[in-house]
């Protein structure tokens, strides 16, 4: 009796497998609602690193430059739409001290002329949004913070929790480049960062692109040139100090 039961069990199992293998596989399609998040990685669509914040400084630009653009990539979770959709991006720190003022430090997102940029185009899954920053006199000594937040609207629900905020810091002071302390990078060439040192590098070493990773020979080239130019400078002007008057600008 037991042997029979085992035999029938095997038979039923085989039949079940055979039947199920003939069944057409149904692929589940994503039918959820769309949401947005800020891209995070070493290179956005403009080739710039985009982590949780970016510092923009007019320090590196010619003094005649009063307006510039910081590009921020926004990406879609969900399916592309056949029509354009408005991006629900707002400034979230308007009430805080040191916050950037819309219309003063950057072109307001509700500016009619800006509306065309706050759009996720039809059939697209990402878009690069321009943050148009504006130079003011007070930026020579201050930094202003623009906290961006992706909210919701009729097209988008809340997105990935830790990817819906991004900060743009705007100033005209020297800002420590993001790659400065990376291994085998600017720290190894120029030593600890400082504003006066940064200005010296731009003005005398004639180097200003701090967003690229340098090859060994170019690092050696910059290190030697910085030391030589500083020696020439000190011969003519004496030692160079940071704003605190104590920290002397030196290169390792």
């Amino acid at each position: 009796m037991k042997i029979k039961a085992i035999k029938y069990s095997f038979l039923i199992l085989a039949l079940a497998m055979g039947v199920s293998s003939c069944q057409e596989k149904v692929v589940n399609r994503f039918e959820g609602e769309s949401s947005l998040f800020f891209y995070r990685g070493s290179g956005n669509s403009k080739g710039a690193p985009q982590t949780d914040s970016v510092s923009y400084s007019f320090f590196l630009a010619a003094s005649s430059v009063t307006v510039d653009t910081v590009w921020v990539d926004v990406q879609l979770t969900g399916v592309p739409s056949a029509k354009d959709r408005v991006l629900p991006i707002v400034q979230s720190n308007t009430a805080e001290a040191g916050s950037a003022v819309a219309g003063t430090h950057y072109v307001a997102f509700n500016d009619p002329a800006f509306a065309k940029y706050l759009i996720l185009p039809a059939n697209k899954v990402s878009v690069s949004v321009p943050v148009i920053v504006k130079r003011t006199a007070e930026m020579a000594t201050s930094e202003f913070r623009l906290d961006l937040e992706i909210t919701t609207n009729e097209f988008f629900v809340a997105g990935i929790k830790d990817r819906t905020n991004y900060t743009v810091k705007i100033t005209a002071m020297a800002v420590k480049p993001a790659l400065w302390d990376v291994a085998n990078s600017y720290l190894s060439i120029f030593g600890p960062w400082g504003q006066a040192k940064m200005k010296f590098i731009i003005d005398y070493v004639e180097y200003s692109d701090f967003d690229i990773v340098l090859t060994t020979d170019y690092r050696v080239y910059l290190a030697l040139k910085a030391k030589a130019k500083l020696a020439e400078y000190e011969l003519a002007n004496g030692p160079l100090y940071e704003a605190d008057g104590v920290t002397r600008v030196i290169f390792p």
Partner: protein, 516 residues
């Protein structure tokens, strides 16, 4: 259920019982010599091949050659785990050499078609281009610097820079240098993109008006002066080029610049190193990643290391053998440089550097042995000789061209060949303070411009060369040496003639890594 268990138990017991039966086998052990193929002759221990020329090897088998399958293959001798290239599948290798230049292990394998036993023969195969072996003679003719190349067959290829590139260098030759695999550069593709070429051989040629960089295999121009710098110098006044294991060094307008090969580079000289009020003599010696130069202002030695951004001036008597820490104080200054050169040992290594100086105050000549490679530690080390006084009467003190006998690295166990620029070669033996005069006497009227002991301990290179000029033409003579002695066998072994005034030469053999 019990029934099933009984069957399983029975099967297991059966297997165990059969496992105890002694396996008597049905093998027949035979002597390997009787069943394996045997190779009688026809394959040497080493071969030297030229790119695109035929490499033919026809071994003799110990039995009917039709009994075996054959394969020839090669792999880089010094690189572990790289793929093999099959060069042929017949007994006779008839291979148009397409391997890249380098040293390979060449394997011949014959396998018995029936019993599948094999015989192997391993050889060393060195592949190089036509420019891989020969003399590069730097010469001056019609106001230009070019190279006459004496190839391995003794054929003189005139003006190879102009012949290959349509142009040579302006000015008078200073020197040239070769390094086998440290040069990198970009090539621009048809679509405008760039491809980086890495670890290529390069020949750098320097005249008093220009410096250019050529591919070490083809001698095609890689970089002209305008393309050879990360930042082109404001003043163009070249004084010489040198290669070492960590970079190429250019001396220009009283400063040195390196192409730093430690890591990625694009084959362009960097920023000039600080000079610190020195006046750099145009002589330099190299070893490992360091270069020793001479400051004509202070009358003393100085050093540079490719990755140390300042000149090393701290000369010490010696280094502690245990800690490498400096011992003693600076040994000489205020002296004029008479001679500075590096003793060649083998393809990738040199022995010590020798320096002869004359004190500006006392007029005493002294000889020093320097460990140039130790400059990387921040000091210029003398090897404890402390400066051997050379009598002013010794001819070496008035020499114009010099050469060190290659090979040994023990203290003063060498001789310094020299010529005063006439038609004679002599040598000075520092170990016993004796000189051998008139070692070589060329025909009257010839003026010796360069001498060299071309030496490689491992690859058995051991030739003395004398380069001279007469009537606007150059003459190159080579001599064998008498065993391990510094004496040469007369008359010369070979003699080559060319047009133009020779300055110096570099000798490159198949395994040369860099020239000193």
């Amino acid at each position: 259920m019990k029934q099933i268990l009984k069957y399983i138990l029975a099967v297991i017991l059966t297997v165990y019982l059969f496992g105890c039966i002694k396996d008597t086998g049905n093998y027949e052990y035979l002597d390997a010599d009787k069943v394996a193929p045997t190779l009688v002759s026809g394959i040497n221990d080493s071969y030297s091949a030229i790119s695109m020329e035929k490499l033919v090897i026809d071994p003799t088998m110990g039995a009917d050659e039709n009994l075996y399958d054959y394969v020839w293959y090669a792999y880089p001798a010094l690189v572990v785990g790289t793929a093999c290239d099959t060069l042929g599948r017949t007994k006779k290798l008839d291979y148009p050499v397409t391997l890249l230049s380098g040293t390979y292990t060449l394997i011949f394998k014959a396998t018995d078609k029936i019993n599948k036993t094999s015989v192997y023969k391993k050889s060393l195969l060195t592949v190089s281009s036509i420019f891989g072996i020969g003399y590069y003679i730097n010469k001056y003719e019609n106001g230009r610097t070019d190279i006459d190349f004496v190839d391995r067959n003794g054929l003189i290829n005139k003006n190879i820079l102009k012949q290959i590139n349509g142009d040579d260098l302006p000015g008078k030759p200073i020197r040239s240098t070769f390094e086998v695999n440290r040069f990198s550069y970009y090539v621009v593709n048809a679509d405008g993109t760039k491809t980086k070429m890495t670890f290529k051989p390069a020949v750098l040629v320097c005249s008093d008006e220009d410096m250019r960089i050529y591919h070490g295999e083809s001698m095609k121009l890689l970089k002209s002066w305008d393309e050879a710098f990360l930042e082109k110098p404001a003043v163009k006044k070249p004084q010489g080029v040198w290669a070492n294991t960590m970079g190429y060094m250019l001396m220009n307008n009283n400063s040195v610049q390196f192409i730093n090969n430690n890591g990625s580079n694009v084959g362009e000289f960097g920023y000039p190193y600080p000079v610190n009020n020195m006046k750099l003599n145009s002589n330099a010696t190299v070893m490992s990643s360091s270069v020793m130069v001479y400051d004509d202002n202070a009358g003393e030695l100085a050093g540079y290391h490719a990755q140390t951004y300042s000149a090393v001036k701290n000369a010490v008597v010696k280094a502690s053998p245990l800690t490498l820490a400096p011992v003693g104080e600076a040994y000489f200054t205020n002296s004029d440089l008479i001679y500075m050169g590096t003793q060649v040992y083998y393809a990738t290594s040199a022995g010590r550097s020798y320096v002869i100086v004359k004190n500006r105050t006392t007029n005493v000549f002294t000889l020093w042995q320097i460990g140039v490679s130790n400059i990387q530690y921040g000091y210029i080390y003398d090897y404890g000789a402390g400066g051997l006084v050379i009598p002013a009467s010794a001819g070496v003190t008035s020499g114009k061209v010099f050469a060190l006998k290659g090979g040994t690295s023990t203290a003063f166990n060498t001789v310094i060949y020299y010529s005063s620029g006439d038609n004679k070669v002599h040598y000075f033996n520092p170990a016993n303070q004796t000189e051998k005069r008139d070692l070589i006497t060329l025909p009257a009227g010839e003026e010796i411009t360069y001498i060299e002991h071309s030496y490689d301990f491992y690859y058995k290179i051991n030739t003395f060369v004398v380069l001279s000029n007469k009537g606007g033409n150059w003459v190159l003579r080579t001599y064998d040496l008498e065993g391990a002695t510094p004496d040469v066998i007369l008359p010369e072994k070979t003699i080559y003639n060319g047009t133009g005034l020779a300055k110096n030469l570099i000798y490159r053999h198949a395994s040369t890594s860099l020239t000193y």
